[in-house]
Symmetry: C2
Subunit: 475 residues, 2 copies
Amino acid sequence: MSTATAEHSSRTATLIDALRDIVGQAYILTDEQDMAPRLTDWRGRYHGKSLCIVRPANAAQAAQLVACCAHAGVALTPQGGNTGLCGGATPMNGEVLITLERLNQIQTLDTDNYTLTAGAGCTLQALQTAAAQAQRLFPLSLASEGSATLGGALATNAGGVHVLRYGNARNLCLGLEVILPDGQIWNGLRALRKDNAGYALKHLFIGAEGTLGLITAATVQLFPQPRHHALAWVGVNTIAAALRLLERLRQRAAERVNAFELIDAQALGLVLRHCAGTRTPIDAQTPWHVLIELADTADPIQSLLENTVEAALEAGEVNDAVFAGNLAQSQSLWSLRERISEAQQREGTSIKHDISLPTSAIPHFIESCTAALEAHFPGLRILCFGHLGDGNLHLNLSHPQPAEQERLMAQSEQARRIVHDLVLDNHGSIAAEHGIGQLKRDELRRTQNPVERALMTTLKKSLDPQGLMNPGKVL
Amino acid sequence: MSTATAEHSSRTATLIDALRDIVGQAYILTDEQDMAPRLTDWRGRYHGKSLCIVRPANAAQAAQLVACCAHAGVALTPQGGNTGLCGGATPMNGEVLITLERLNQIQTLDTDNYTLTAGAGCTLQALQTAAAQAQRLFPLSLASEGSATLGGALATNAGGVHVLRYGNARNLCLGLEVILPDGQIWNGLRALRKDNAGYALKHLFIGAEGTLGLITAATVQLFPQPRHHALAWVGVNTIAAALRLLERLRQRAAERVNAFELIDAQALGLVLRHCAGTRTPIDAQTPWHVLIELADTADPIQSLLENTVEAALEAGEVNDAVFAGNLAQSQSLWSLRERISEAQQREGTSIKHDISLPTSAIPHFIESCTAALEAHFPGLRILCFGHLGDGNLHLNLSHPQPAEQERLMAQSEQARRIVHDLVLDNHGSIAAEHGIGQLKRDELRRTQNPVERALMTTLKKSLDPQGLMNPGKVL
């Protein structure tokens, strides 16, 4: 062992001892096998390396851990439910992994103020349940809500199916508690709808994926619980027709449009093929499907939905429609939407995109993007689905022929660029609701305007001068 | 003239020449009398000093102006409609005043995407009108909306009467164009509901009152236009009863609660005394009044409001209520609320507060605050009104006896501290919707937690290292 290596090992051992002293022996992992499940993301795409995994019991311990790492000049990565889709929570190069799962207490639920303060390690589902028990709604809802945590959702500014009505994680967040890169705790846990006492610091940390600080708790808004839901599955010929239907609904129901999801025939076909117990909701052959949910507090909203969809049918804007008559039917319609990811996984690998556009640009974008991709990869399969109401689409590419699929995967970088360049031409975003992480870091660098890039770099350098917070992600 | 002074004068003349070259002779003022109207805030509380006032025609000119000032090391202050209440737009010490009034073009209105992009100099009213012409709603609504500009509203994160439903200026803003302190233009004019491509830079500039950059344009969200409105004026005995009524309304109408305004009997009394053509809306002697507006796109909402208020009447939670039967009645009820500021002005000077609290804390806060103020200033008059639905109150203090009024004004600092300390004890904010400006700068410094203070200072230093952007405000 060289002197330098020996010195490094000794410093490393000292750091691990210090971290162990903070959390206790039971809450530190150093064995590679023990650490393995936390070092791979759930899609199995990223495999990381970590010096050790520590599980603080509270914000004070988390702050000590961060201070310790800062003092030693060792980088760290925070991790919530490890459900991220861009590798943002996987350490890349031996970072200390701090998992927030023990910070899972609901600290206060203020029914009258419609707010809830909770530790970063609470799952979204736990927050939904706590809110429901107080006759309130916590609307952040994702497929992974049983594992995804509040901290992770805020660090990536997660979206989901109800953004159209309630906004994304950022909009729901009133206050934050953050461990800064030097180990200080910033307690910004305010439960206020209006607060302009100084700069809007919380927004720096929301969506920054742990690169500026470590979120340990948050205060979020709650809402009145809708008591009446109405669900429809509708077939349309074009995205433009789907958007016309959305406009009809908005003009009638305004905020009561709870979800407006687009599913193309390919995506539905995969679900029907791969997922047991599913069947097609409508008989019409239709290239595009839309799942619509309305919800209201006061009165049944079924007839408003039916009348609006029927008016669209009569105007020839809709091919066919079915309405959920009971909860079981609602669940089976929702499951067709929610099982798209699972169906894709069973079908095989694909190149995934998480993009957003002004809704007015989507019909043209899909047309030109399909043409451009087809020109480069003839016969490729494009799955297109997502939260059309927010302008957020998931555009996933694969090829039904094995040899061509191999070529497509080998040229995934090129495919990605075709999509992203057209997204930017249409004033869209290459990262809508999944974050940047490792997956899109280079694409962000390639596509971001230089002034914006420089601003981000300035912020990173001033808040995290040692560059120890989740390195290799976002920037 | 000393050599140093001569040198300074010569450098100043050179800067003025350079600024004149950018905007043209017609758009620069250097004469003190010409500048005077722009150097006093509309409340007449702050009187500033400026080297010159320049009115750029567009963002490119604004950028050149800022670059010029940066090069000369001369500070600048941006100004919109000059309707701010905290002196944030009044230059303090010879700063170049850049007014954005000529940046008053609506650049794009995307009806399908429910977005509008406009220059910072557009008045809020102009945006409301443009949106209405496209059958859309731009919901930011303030008493000063005929003069207040988009840029100023974003720089102060303005609120108003519809925050309860639509959020404040920050929530409405999807994208920004900002001139950075070195004169570079950051074009972040995105029209997207979901965008996580990098840090949330826009939030740094919103609410920063020009201390980090100069907002030249913004993209804002629009909404479906409500077609049915219902208005009620209600008398209640306590704030707690008002909050119970709010809860009844939320449980029935959810987002359709458009406004929920609290007015105490003192404030209403002043309006009735000072404003011609006003009369009391309800006969009952009641210490607190509430103005409620519901609005819906699809169906009349009058009966939902009536039924809910009547249920509260039957439960003994409401003393009396009147419902607007037509537009004229609606306008006359709203004008009682909107004329409070005018009535106060006519009554004389008062110490004004713009605070927010968790709604659940308001009854206790008002009780303890009234007691504490009364103990220090026996017989003082407290006017309390505001946007109860957002937890935002305006608490304005004066004394009916001239000698005591003089004493109160002389001890205004102490009065302010009594209020603000109790606000903070109750987890509230000393700055809800008017900003910090000059008025609350020292109070912010006194009350802010040191970690937060240090973070703000770090941001200011890294983005504006010369400290030239609107010095003396906020920080």
